[in-house]
Amino acid sequence: MSAVVDTHAHGHHDHHGGYGGIMRWITTTNHKDIGTLYLWFSFIMFSVGGLMAVGIRMELFSPGLQVMDPDFFNQLTTMHGLIMVFGAIMPVFVGFANWQIPMMIGAPDMAFARLNNWSFWLLPFAATLLVLSFFMPGGAPGVGWTMYAPLTVQMGIGMDLTIFAVHILGMSSILGSINIITTILNMRAPGMTLMKMPLFVWTWLITAYLLVAAMPVLAGAVTMTLTDRHFGTSFFNAAGGGDPVLYQHVFWFFGHPEVYIIALPGFGVISQVIPAFSRKPLFGYASMVYATSAIAIISFIVWAHHMYTVGMPVTGQLFFMYATMLVAVPTGVKVFNWVATMWKGSLTFETPMLFACGFLFMFTLGGFTGLVLSLVPIDIQVHDTYYVVAHFHYVMVAGALFAAFAGIYFWLPKWTGRMYDETLGKVHFWLTMIFFNVTFFVQHFLGLAGMPRRVPDYPLMFEAWNKISSIGAFGMGLSQLLFLYIVLKALRSGAKAPEKPWEGADSLEWTHLPTPVPYHTFETPPVLK
């Protein structure tokens, strides 16, 4: 690739379009502005979902009912899950996609800039609906984030708000995905072939396809729930000849690809960070692309491992067990390649790399417990226990959230032209790492001992581990205030970032664009060899 730097000059005051202040953000069609909006929205939702988690852990601090009634506890677990999955983790990676994809492929913006604006501004309305459901008669739905029938048929009006919110969130995701796929397929700079794209772009291309295929299935599931509730159908209502288990099949046909919709962009971030701080190219680039594609394809044939206990035939259990185990093969390829990239590299451990290493250890642990859960005889024993809660938090928090932190620390200098406080960044990593494990590692023990999930009370024998887990959760929540402080400090008074703060970073935004990146980039496509 050539080293021509796009130093396209722009006046400081006239480059944000026609509007200033709040109208700039409402009307913006610039991918960087929209990326920033996604990232801040995601942080707010993380905070809301995190507060709900603190409420849950407060209740579980001691046996007996402490601070809330069981119904409200169920509402909190439901909304915590929905907000974290749809309002926090997914948008944070769409924020990365908006900022990074055009810059990484040498495009001036996303393919559909106005649609991009609309995709974002749908989100606050959906989030408002979710939160408003708490104030409806009967409160928010207490059905779990999976919204299983027949409970959903029995809930109050809060359920309708949630269904509407899920529809809007799904629409936002589908429109965003169409935009991302079109941008990547049609707007790459000349010379940027598919197999030259940074792995972050590849993982998002595959994720966007997953979203286009899986999200409408969720929309179908909640639409059928809606018609069961209000229009006299009986898709899932056994009283009318429907089948509640059918809902589980339809939901998890969306739900398992959703796990990879959340994880794959995180894999992409890690695949940018590890080579940069190892000062080596990514090991096995092509195999990473194929492994990511394989994970995406396999994710559509493993859904029933979430429902081994519904009474399916042994043949079905065996099929889904072996198919689930198969996921470990491409995932193992990826973990091997990340470690091989680090092997004999000139390693340094700045904050992004620390979070990447934390991701590697913790996500792999979550993957291993996933393998344990893929085994039918074991899964039947620990189904709906805290072992499952521990497993998916290792995947979601250590997988997606650690990757998101790695990405934010990695690209913040490029986005803002300011360095974050490295010492505080490292403190943030270690606090998050320690408190995360204090919170969730002990939940494996609780699950193996038989503590069920989604229950506000428990026998005395579970008290010690629950107290430890709650203390960890409070610590982890407080640690994120430090993250907010680090970002605000960098924005207000951070040291000026050098042109290339990470010497091993080699994608287009580092090699072809100045730091901080101008508001408009690659108006002329870069020349790539």
Binding site: A111, I178, A213, G220, A221, M224, D243, L246, V250
Partner: protein, 31 residues
């Protein structure tokens, strides 16, 4: 029609077919 619009149309059709397909499968075909 631009290349971008064509790509978007194909993808939107896939999404719409998934949505309508899953509802139709259990509604019209009765499971």
């Amino acid at each position: 029609m631009s290349k971008n619009a064509k790509t978007a149309l194909v993808l939107a059709s896939i999404a719409l077919a998934s949505f309508l397909g899953i509802v139709a499968k259990y509604w019209i075909l009765r499971g």
